[in-house]
Symmetry: C2
Subunit: 310 residues, 2 copies
Amino acid sequence: MDQDVVIVGDWGTSRLRLWLRQGKSVIHRRDGPGVSTLTETPQQTFLNLVGDWREASPAGAILCGMVGSSLGWSLAPYAPCPADAAAVAQRTIRLEADGLPVTLVPGLSCVNPLGGPDVMRGEETQVFGALALNPALQRGRHLLALPGTHNKWTVVEDGKVTGFVTAPVGETFALLKQRSTLAAGGGAQAEGSAEGFALGLERIGAHGAQRLLHLMFETRGRQLLDGTSPADAMGYLSGLLIGADVAAARDWFGPIEAVTVIGAGPLGDLYVKALARVGVGAAVVDGDAAVLAGLSSISRTSAISRFQDK
Amino acid sequence: MDQDVVIVGDWGTSRLRLWLRQGKSVIHRRDGPGVSTLTETPQQTFLNLVGDWREASPAGAILCGMVGSSLGWSLAPYAPCPADAAAVAQRTIRLEADGLPVTLVPGLSCVNPLGGPDVMRGEETQVFGALALNPALQRGRHLLALPGTHNKWTVVEDGKVTGFVTAPVGETFALLKQRSTLAAGGGAQAEGSAEGFALGLERIGAHGAQRLLHLMFETRGRQLLDGTSPADAMGYLSGLLIGADVAAARDWFGPIEAVTVIGAGPLGDLYVKALARVGVGAAVVDGDAAVLAGLSSISRTSAISRFQDK
């Protein structure tokens, strides 16, 4: 067994990303199914994907995400906020798969800024990774956004996650785009345009996020009366939802100079645009880089871990 | 042909309701498929449902709703606001089905209170019906709500519809309830509880409609962390959406003493509760009664109509 070689992974609802690491280097990456779409047990799915990586004699595996939920491999109960990487590491749980030690990272729970209950699983690892990649985030108060199916606005203070709040923006947009009358006439097949997105941001800016539901229906009205294309209509709908999410987050966090957006790619870009529209800067961190750095942080601070990041 | 006997109907996206009237009395009612689910042509579907009503020698038929859209029988272009029943009557279109004259009622278009384009088809008939049933609404400025797949807040001034704005509340709720992670754990099968609904209204009241997206995710957080039941969770989600719709409508209309809610039944009741929560009274008008009265008003004021309501 090579203590320097480990398997690390992010096993979410819709996909599994697995990396074989040696020291700080990634040697291989493999993708598999999310926990909601398994045809075998989590253990068997995992071992099948690991396959010949066993020949590299890995010391073990560490996995974050929905794999630690009641729908996953085994339950890793939420760590309550405030929590830093060490607090999360203390609450990891240990399994064994055909002789290979497997560590599951728990998610976080909190009372959100609106006084309601909130949860995350997987995003905590990316947040701790962003802190490791950018030490300036380890001091003071910072706001991070993790756009996706569910966007998690996360507040970090002196290295601890003190709270977060979730907006199901990606999921709501996908349902409306694929299945609603707002997308009748080709929206389901269209890719949202930049022009439409800008109009959505502008309309939310002019009327406020409290008008979201009513501005949403213009997606249809514009197509019927103004000949707006499906691409512009879907861009507009996306601009409304992201604009409303950003407007509300800015209100409760207070003055923000810059937000750290975790997740490069088209969705991250849309959040950067929406933040710029309200005068807030953004620094983008790649999602995979954040996962890898976060799993290293959690391993390093874990009293029970045998994986050392050198 | 008996000039006193007519067929009237509301043919929407998801259902067709057809009545045989003699004077002011309804003799029979039949239900058929909506224009989005036809297996035959609209004409054939209509004639099949009419069937032996032809023996009553009706003078003709008048139909409102999506039957007049590009997805229906034949296009009846929108009448622009402001519009009263006479203006709509002037824009009806005439067809013939196996010798039976058929009149299609157009919908309305407007620039809504947010400056965006908006449309309705079918609801205009219910609005004119509510005015006929309650003459007090024919003078002054009034706000009407027509909850459904798409709620239409409609402003009537001195008998004319001067504007309206649509909130796709019913459709958004149905998609989230049937297909989203917010309903994971049994929400799709649950009926929303009154307690959950009240909590949703309370949370929107406390934090404002601009927090809708973030309060929505609590639907999931409450189930995971607080053991909230699927019925309470779905009631909560419904309370948030309806509460946000009502809060925004109240803001733009200005001081309201009472709203006329068209549509008796569970959804109408939820709007009455949400209005009461913000101190606004409501008068409820039955939807079928409104359709029947509205079609009479449009027939009566139509220069081209041969149907006289006595």
